[in-house]
Symmetry: C2
Subunit: 848 residues, 2 copies
């Protein structure tokens, strides 16, 4: 159903409804109701304008003077009256149908309207008692908005009922779908601005309806708000022909209803009818689905086309304002300096007839106070928006799931496969609570987490064919080839108090840098608000990590997501690099118990040597960093060299290097330090996990060379440790990314050779190793060269590299020792060549 569109000529500063009341128009709302809902809308609009402009004289009880106006005007009016209109109508259907509803407001910079509504509902004063329903409270409400010491100009965590700031556009609809999952009674109204609708993440998010089970999930009701303009440009969806827009929305799988126009009375009736029809349809879909009837739901969607800056000044300085891009921020700006502008503002505010809306002491007139929903039915007080379902997960007994490690470094396991079993049990233990989900861009099985499919499936509402692999209507694994959607869904899910894990490619985690950034900011701000409940942590597993991109290209090589997360301030970010399967289980078990954090865990899926049994892993992960005595041979004295490592592949390479060193130069005293929790490295002032300096020094020594094999770019280790005593002796071996005629496969080979480079670097860092040192270096060079030749010919690693394991005997007891000693005897070290650079252009020509 489409409302008709009517518009009028405006004179400077004239406002729609300029004191002329509202003629009745027939529709679902009766005459009293119509008057009331319009009055409520006017009240919200009045309070919105007040926040943007005033620092005193809130009820205009005296003529407006320059000193009543804020010196800097920093709000956004354009979208606000439309949001207020929607809010009033959502209130109506909530009351009429006793709905459990939260709302996600994509245009979060319309916060003056959302704050106004929370104030009208009483929630604001309940939360912030000094912003009460009286003249002082109203003055404070106005003054605090975008003012020093006050509140930000977006729908930030400070706003009760908000789970979405809307500062960076694109994520409203994904958040809404995430919030609706596993909340079968809930409706999430999601207002999508036509600006935001141009973003990629939003354009993809419409397809969330393919993943929402009408039996066990809630409903998302998108309200596409076309106000025609972004900042200075028209919007795409507002300018394409209406039939094309309808076709687009039908193509996205919705049943759209259009509400279009600018005459309030007509629009109220049209909006009420549209929402009534939408909720009738939602009820019908739910009933049929829950009865078990087959059929694919077409969820309703409302398109609201209303003027930008609706009810604001029609024109200013002879230029049209209402309905144009000039309404975007502050429609009339020189209010302190220019009496005409001030008069426009005053006329505008008075056009809402505040004297009919508020009592002289600043409280709401009883008629209006009775209008909004009550208690937790209020959009600003719905407990879903404050993580009320935030109970801890039930977690399995770790010891039962331990990977058996009979001898350190001699058996292999796939870390993520073990994690899959653990996650399967997490799903089982919380099946009834329905508060745990796994998201990912179609990599759950490829990342070897497929044990989860023993107890659940992949969520899918479209047709299911016989050859499909574990698809199900109520699957708890959400797979879509969009990191934005996975991340956005998970954010919406945890912000409403549930738990989850997002598993994705390490290199492409950068796709969600900005989303993670915004979530970190939300968490940081929310944590400072005592009334905000803690939110389960956002857990990100980076598997298919950069060291094993055999199937892919240079494009798949980038360990920089860690750097990005490490830039986040203070207590929000955690980065874990478990060296083996049991450590991965311990780390994940910890992450799933935490709240208000962003936990990044990096763990490979390939078969890899296992180092720690579950007891040792638990102790090691609890400490976050530690000396691996069993791999070290330092004895009582300080070691000659510290071999440090962080990450599964670097750990394996380090131990292979240590094995080499201990075989070739058994008198060299080596200490092995493994880092699981990267945040132990920076100073404690910087991060709560940071080691104090004495502890750091006791691990990394004050003066011995440290070879640090690290999973990512080496700079991060330097920047975290540059203030440490021994930083001058840190040699960090990070990931090398390479392009051009070096296939990823090459890179894996080169990176796998890090054992030789690490051993080489250690030998060079320790003086006075004499003939043995020289012989060891020569042997290293030979091994490197032999490996390269083999790889270029055979397309695979040499068996001694591929199949290396930690020996059961070391030093002089190692079976190789006799041969090595004999070699040293024969070796004419004087004739040794200059060491050839580790990686040369020649290496690339091996296929020529």
């Amino acid at each position: 159903m489409d409302a008709t569109h009517g518009s009028r000529e405006h004179h400077d500063g004239e406002c729609r409804d300029d004191g002329d009341g509202l003629a009745f128009v027939p529709g679902p709302i009766g005459p009293d109701g119509l008057r009331q809902i319009d009055a409520y809308w006017r009240a919200a609009n009045y309070l919105s304008v007040g926040q943007i402009y005033l620092m005193a004289n809130p009820l205009l009880r005296e003529p407006l003077k320059p000193e009543h106006v804020k010196p800097r005007l920093l709000g956004h009016w354009g979208t606000t009256p439309g949001l207020n209109f929607i809010y009033a109508h959502l209130n109506r259907v909530i009351r009429e149908r006793d709905l459990d509803m939260i709302a996600v407001w994509g245009p979060g910079h319309g916060a003056p309207g959302l704050v106004a509504n929370a104030y009208l509902e009483g929630t604001y004063a309940e939360t912030y008692p000094d912003v009460a329903h009286d003249l002082d409270g109203m003055a404070r409400l106005f003054r605090q908005f975008s003012f020093p010491g006050g509140i930000p100009s977006h729908a930030s965590p400070e706003l009760p009922g908000s789970i979405h700031e809307g500062g960076e556009l694109g994520y409203s609809l994904a958040h809404a779908f995430g919030a609706a999952l596993d909340n079968p009674g809930l409706t999430v109204a999601c207002v999508v601005g036509d600006g935001e609708a141009e973003t990629g993440p939003l354009a993809a998010a419409w397809h969330g309806n393919k993943f929402l089970d009408p039996r066990s999930d809630g409903t998302v009701l998108p309200i596409l708000h076309l106000n025609g303009y972004k900042i200075a440009n028209p919007t795409v969806l507002a300018r394409i022909p209406r039939e094309e827009l309808r076709s687009l929305l039908v193509g996205y799988g919705y049943e759209p209803t259009f509400v279009e126009g600018d005459e309030p009375a007509i629009m109220h009736q049209a909006m009420a009818a549209a929402l009534d029809a939408a909720f009738d349809a939602i009820t019908e879909i739910r009933i049929r689905a829950r009865r078990g009837e087959a059929g694919r739901p077409r969820w309703p969607l409302v398109v609201l086309r209303s003027p930008k800056g609706w009810t604001g000044p029609g024109s200013v300085d002879g230029k049209p304002v209402e309905g144009t891009w000039r309404s975007h921020q502050v429609p009339v700006a020189a209010v302190r300096e220019n009496p005409e502008h001030r008069a426009i503002l005053e006329r505008w505010m008075r056009s809402y007839r505040p004297e009919e809306l508020f009592t002289p002491d600043g409280s709401l007139v009883p008629d209006l106070a009775a209008l909004p929903p009550r208690g937790p039915r209020r959009l600003s007080a719905n407990p879903h928006a404050n993580a009320h379902r935030g109970a801890p997960l039930r977690l399995p007994e770790l010891r039962r799931l331990a990977v058996t490690v009979p001898e350190r470094g001699r058996t292999k396991a796939e870390a993520t496969r073990a994690l899959g079993v653990y996650l399967r049990d997490v799903l089982t233990l919380n099946a009834e609570a329905r508060n745990f989900r796994i998201m990912g861009p179609d990599e759950t099985a490829s990342n070897r987490l497929d044990a989860v499919f023993e107890v659940t499936s992949r969520a899918w509402q479209e047709e299911i064919l016989p050859e499909d692999d574990h698809l199900g209507r109520d699957g708890r694994v959400m797979e879509v080839l969009s990191e934005h959607l996975c991340e956005g869904w998970l954010e919406g899910y945890v912000l409403t108090g549930r738990h989850g894990l997002f598993a994705t490619y390490e290199a492409f985690a950068h796709v969600i840098d900005s989303m993670v950034n915004q979530h970190a900011k939300w968490l940081k701000s929310a944590r400072d608000l005592p009334w905000r409940r803690p939110v389960p942590s956002l857990n990100i597993l980076l598997s298919s990590h950069v060291w094993r991109q055999d199937h892919n290209g240079f494009s798949h090589q980038d360990p920089g997501f860690i750097d990005f997360v490490a830039n986040k301030r203070g207590d929000t970010a955690r980065i874990y690099l478990p060296p083996d399967a049991n450590c991965l289980l311990c780390v994940m078990d910890h992450c799933l118990r935490t709240y208000d954090r962003i936990n990044v865990v990096v763990a490979g899926k390939q078969p890899a040597l296992q180092w720690l049994d579950m007891d040792a892993a638990a102790r090691h992960c609890a400490a976050g960093v530690g000396i691996w005595d069993w791999a070290s041979n330092e004895g009582e004295a300080e070691p000659d060299v510290v071999m440090a490592c962080a990450g599964d592949v670097p750990t394996q390479e380090t131990l292979a290097a240590v094995d080499w060193l201990r075989r070739y130069v058994p008198e060299l005293k080596v200490r092995v330090v493994n880092v699981v929790d990267l945040m132990t490295l920076p100073a404690r002032e910087t991060h709560p996990h940071g080691l104090d300096d004495p502890t750091f020094d006791s691990l990394f020594t004050r003066d011995r060379p440290v070879m640090f094999a690290y999973h990512g770019y080496p700079w991060l280790i330097h920047r975290m440790t540059y203030k440490r005593t021994n930083h001058g002796n840190f040699h960090v071996h990070g990931f090398i990314e390479e392009g051009t005629t070096t296939t990823p496969f090459d890179m894996c080979v080169l990176n796998r050779l890090d054992r030789y480079h690490l051993a080489q670097a250690a030998l060079r860092a320790v003086p006075g190793l004499g003939a043995r040192g020289e012989h060891a270096e020569e042997a290293l060079r030979d091994a490197l060269a032999a490996h390269r030749v083999h790889v270029c010919r055979a397309g695979d690693d040499l068996p001694e590299v591929k199949d290396w394991s930690w020996p059961d005997r070391h030093g002089d007891e190692h079976p190789d020792r006799r041969r090595i000693e004999a070699d040293i005897m024969q070796c004419d070290t004087a004739g040794a060549e200059e060491p050839r650079p580790a990686r040369t252009a020649d290496d690339r020509a091996c296929n020529a």
Copy 2:
């Protein structure tokens, strides 16, 4: 027109067309043509399978043995036969219509097919003579694929004709639109996989048709390839009802034609008919538009629905493979170990009847060799895909556009406004060449670049209303509220040799982290290929930067994009922080002359003090870093303290701090160092712009305290300088991001107070300043406190902060000096309070 769908039962390893030829089906192609195009397709398929599997015996002239097969199988078959099918049909229309066409292949991991086609067209052998059309060449072609020393498994820069790697999914269509701009004769065929279609950037990119002028731009022909599955999941667009998909594509503004099925003969005719219809429609649209006829074009689009792994093994080990997710990578895997699998591979390869396609010596049979287009009409040799339009820009005379700076630091200008005038002239000078565009998310005017609208407008093909601001069909400014689209269009534009600038919010530049990452990788790889022409640089202007987010929230605060770019290897990244308008002009003028780089320029739009006239700016920017003698008072001796700065706001704060120090402690010897080019800071081994150590030390001294005021997060400066002699004395004051009850406006105030913090830090770092130092510190504390009180009350800075300018007299000549001396005489320093912490919780309560 829709083809009918037919399918067959498969037995293990059986392949479609298993030697049984092709029955004629009527359609646009005659019997000979049908046989030929099918043979060409079979040849491409054969060569694709060969690349994935074989390292010897390329023409199967002996029975397949384990040692002919690569030890590791690392390609993607699933999408490849579909790409080969499309390629063959694009060749047909190119020849029949003599089309100028390039193709963007979204599923770039179908590279075996694209490499095969470049080989069939002869381009591959022309580019890499050792991969010739003979048995040796074919063996090399097979062996090199995803093999050490060979080529990556994606459509990487090594592939002639490629401008799009397709490793990270989402950007194909944006690249295609970018390439089509200002190339009125060009068609860019863009294959969109149904996996990629789920990503946000791709979902938004369909709307590129709203920005393409049919008169002066080329055409994008999207080919949506539905093969049904991603890795393990079905795809959304392949599973929704066909009518819903049609509605979606119509809603995106296209006229779709469906080609669906799996019987080759039927599919060839259907595809040929679809492409004929598409190019008839394109011709019609172009003619009508260029005749000046009104009307909104509906561009054609082809939907190809074909089985995943089409023509591959029907089933393996009793499980269906062709047409299922099992075809995604390697459909039959245990080929070396398992004779049955090996037999399946051999049967599969022989099903293409290689003996009919290749002569015994490995060259193409003449019939097929004659089939592809000739010379530059070949998709793999079209010069657009090698930046042939890459002529330098004509650039305006800088001096003519200089901002007048009569006295340093005493007049204000808006740096980006000056840049707008410069860009206007760039547009004018290159109007005829049509090789320069500006992209941005609706911020060109808001970023005060609006002088460009004197000579051009914003590109817009939809309806234009009277109140719209500078919209035009052929506008050279592209504004859409999607950083992904802006970045993707610009990448496509520069990769085809044209120039441009992307201006965007600093905080939200993280949205495109991953895209910039991929572009950097492309540039790095492409630069090593001598046959690849240089590509104009990707220029990114970060305005509305983090220091001035008065209108916005915590969400808008993040200077970390610089950190991200600084992580890119070697010679690709450049980061410039011009301190004023003339420096911005010099920097941008330089950037627009460069090739193969990613230039990031950070510059504010607010009125700010100007420091350098054009001559001085040119010298300063050429050096990248330098001592500002005119602001320093060090004389002959080494300074007591170095006040360094990088960024426009930090520079102003530093000079205000220096003014304070010189007023209060005139005997303190201060050196001011300004950094424009951030890449001068790291060591020369790390970046070619890095200063050598002696030069670095001559600027920053070997042992004096350095107060470094920096635009972004402080860690980056530390990580760039930790190896420098004097790093231990570096105190970096970076940007502070804060949330919760600290409005952005507060932050601007706090950040503006950095002048006091910098002065304070300098005083504390220099010992022995005695009573004067103590008095200066006290004065600083008082000034800070007074400012806070004023800001909380008035909502604006104190006038002496807001209106500060660089004085014309310094030290003892400064008019304040007499008062300060008198104060020192009176001051009872013994009674001074403990310094209060710079920023306390109290500051936040100022509105209470």
